[in-house]
């Protein structure tokens, strides 16, 4: 018996430049914060802008996370996602308007209760709608991108028009619950209460999602499914069921995002989902299709950059997102953190 061949594992030092390049996506948000601080030069305005940028980013993340997962898992691109945002907003705001007494009472507990109820109602309705959407619209066209895009755009139109039928053709203006109006002053910076709430909800959601993905069995299956679906199915998991679940959860999250965005803007229109979809797509693309972390970073960058630029150079704000997307795609054509997909 011969000895095993002499094997010397090489532990090559990763050069520092490579390490930085690998961690770059994670560093982008802090870098953006610092650059913003230097460019704005006024700590209190910087703080105000940062909080509103983070709030906006968190809300976009809530809407984008479902979409990116749905794509990663089943290679389905759903343009109908925007419809869930609008439906969520309309259902949620109807609850807020219906419980006007609670909403106008100067009690934080009652106000938060109203928001919670609105969120739950919106998520329930959009989750259900997502389930129906998957069954009726998406299911027959698996594997055909062209048809998926066409059919889901059709679904988007129909749902948007149905909103008009049910809630009437006009936009709805309303006021936020009493205790969520106004702002705190902190170091001379005005921080709107609702924005802080949005940041908290977004952070909690992100942490919860990460926990689910990293610590639970279902999260493991979803991650494995994104990476290599066929293999997961070969191991005996019914990925289709998982996928339906993710689709429903993603739709419900879109509904949550819709309520939050509606409360933030204090006006809702049937077309709001369609408008948000543009930001959501930008976020999903720069994050890398299928990557929740990428979407999170992308969403924060879009939110922060838009707010900073709107302050520094209002004219550029319109194209800041497109500029960001162009820059990121030049750097990484697949997006920041593309999920490897075995084809």
């Amino acid at each position: 018996m011969t000895d095993a061949p002499d094997h010397r594992p090489t532990m090559a030092d990763v050069p520092i430049a490579d390490r930085i390049a690998r961690a770059m996506p994670l560093l982008l948000v802090p870098i953006l914060l610092v650059v913003g601080f230097v460019a704005i030069g006024n700590p209190s305005s910087w703080l105000t802008l940062t909080v509103s940028g983070l709030a906006m980013g968190m809300m976009i993340f809530i809407m984008a996370s479902g979409l990116t997962l749905v794509f990663g898992l089943m290679d389905v691109i759903s343009f109908g996602h925007g419809a869930f945002i609008s439906v969520g907003a309309f259902v949620g705001i109807s609850v807020v308007l219906g419980l006007a007494e609670w909403a106008q009472a100067p009690s934080l507990l009652l106000n938060l209760g109203v928001v919670l109820l609105a969120v739950l109602a919106a998520m329930a309705v959009t989750g259900l709608l997502g389930w129906a959407f998957e069954r009726v619209i998406v299911k027959p066209v698996y594997g055909a991108h062209l048809k998926q895009i066409l059919v889901t755009v059709g679904g988007l139109i129909v749902i948007e028009q149905l909103i008009h039928v049910i809630w009437g053709p006009d936009e709805i203006f309303f006021a936020r619950p009493e205790m969520l109006k106004g702002a705190f002053t902190f170091w001379g910076a005005a921080l709107e209460k609702f924005r802080l709430l949005a940041v908290v909800i977004g952070l909690v959601l992100f942490v919860a999602m990460r926990l689910v993905f990293r610590r639970t069995r279902i999260g493991l299956i979803v991650r494995a499914g994104v990476e290599n679906g066929e293999m997961v199915e070969a191991l005996g998991y019914r990925l289709r069921l998982v996928f339906v679940g993710v689709f429903i959860a993603g739709s419900a999250l879109a509904g949550l995002g819709g309520v939050m965005w509606g409360l933030y803007q204090e006006v809702i229109t049937a077309g709001m989902g369609e408008e948000m979809m543009i930001l959501v797509f930008i976020v999903v693309i720069i994050g890398g299709l299928g990557s929740v972390e990428g979407a999170f970073i992308g969403a924060l960058m879009v939110g922060l950059l838009q707010n900073y630029i709107a302050f520094l150079e209002p004219k550029l704000a319109l194209i800041s997102n497109i500029g960001l997307m162009t820059a990121i795609l030049m750097w990484r054509p697949q997006g920041m953190m593309p999920v490897v997909k075995a084809k």
């Binding site: 062209l146 028009q161 408008e275 797509f281 693309i285 997102n321 997307m325």
Partner: protein, 350 residues
Amino acid sequence: MLMRLISGDSPRSRLLTALLLVIFFGLLFAPFLFPGVRALETAARICVFILLAASYDLLLGYTGVVSFAHAMFFGMGAYGVGLASQHMGRGFGSLIFGSLAGAALAAAFALVIALFSLRVRAIFFAMITLAVASAMAVLVSQLSQITGGEDGFTFQIPRALGPANRMGEFGGINITGKILNYYVVFFVSLALFLSLLRIVNSPFGRVLQAIRENDFRAEAIGYRVVRYRIIATCISAAVAALAGSLFALWLRYVGPDTTLSFAIMLDILLMVVIGGMGTIWGAAIGATLMVLAQTYLQNLMGSAAEATAAIPLLSRLLDPDRWLLWLGVLFILSVYFFPAGIVGRLRTGR
């Protein structure tokens, strides 16, 4: 001769041929067959939208790439003509310069977008075009000093094409510059339509179809898939811009609602899908049907809504403003059940 003109791509169905001939002669003699401002307006719209839908079909039906920026390219041509006429004075020179500049700009934009997205994944293209098109629409509405903002602006076209230019009478109809203008729109559209037909029936068009069917194989045979897709995108954008120029020339007005809006984009999608993807004839049928339906069917819906006013939900569903709802349903159903559209249906149901 005739076969050469249509590049050997005959409609291949008697009913379809008859329909196309009706459309062709209807449009050719529109000013005499259907006198009246509204009818002529509709006919010119049909000409422009047939061309626009055909150029979109080159992308969607032949290459299998979904773009949401087609209305943007359409708008570039329209604004090109509008701005050129406004700043260079009325005249044929500024019309031609504006059209060419619009087309060149559209092709350049298409090239950049395509380079960024088609290189990676064809599906990126749909999302990126949507983002760019919406940014452009916002930009146009914000830069109101240049573009007139939401209101758009009117401009003057050469006197010869205006209604004040009377050129006598023919068959009881006053021949004015307006009718001349219509024929400019008609013949330019026709020429571009025939060139599109030429393109899709050339070897280049065959390669595009191969890519649509199976891009992996096309690449394996030795065709540079990305390059072909990019060229198709640019051609389609340039033709869309020229259609926009014609539309602006006809309306003597440009504005976001008539050229850039997402609603126009949806109209184009519906025309191509309902008419039949993957055949230029489908674009002709789809565009004609859609424009006619938009002009005349909405009245019908209005009366239906009045008739059912007593029934609460039904009357709202039949409201003329909810017209998109029914189109959306029709759109989904046609993607599922008639993926080849009306033309495909007619060709197989022979």
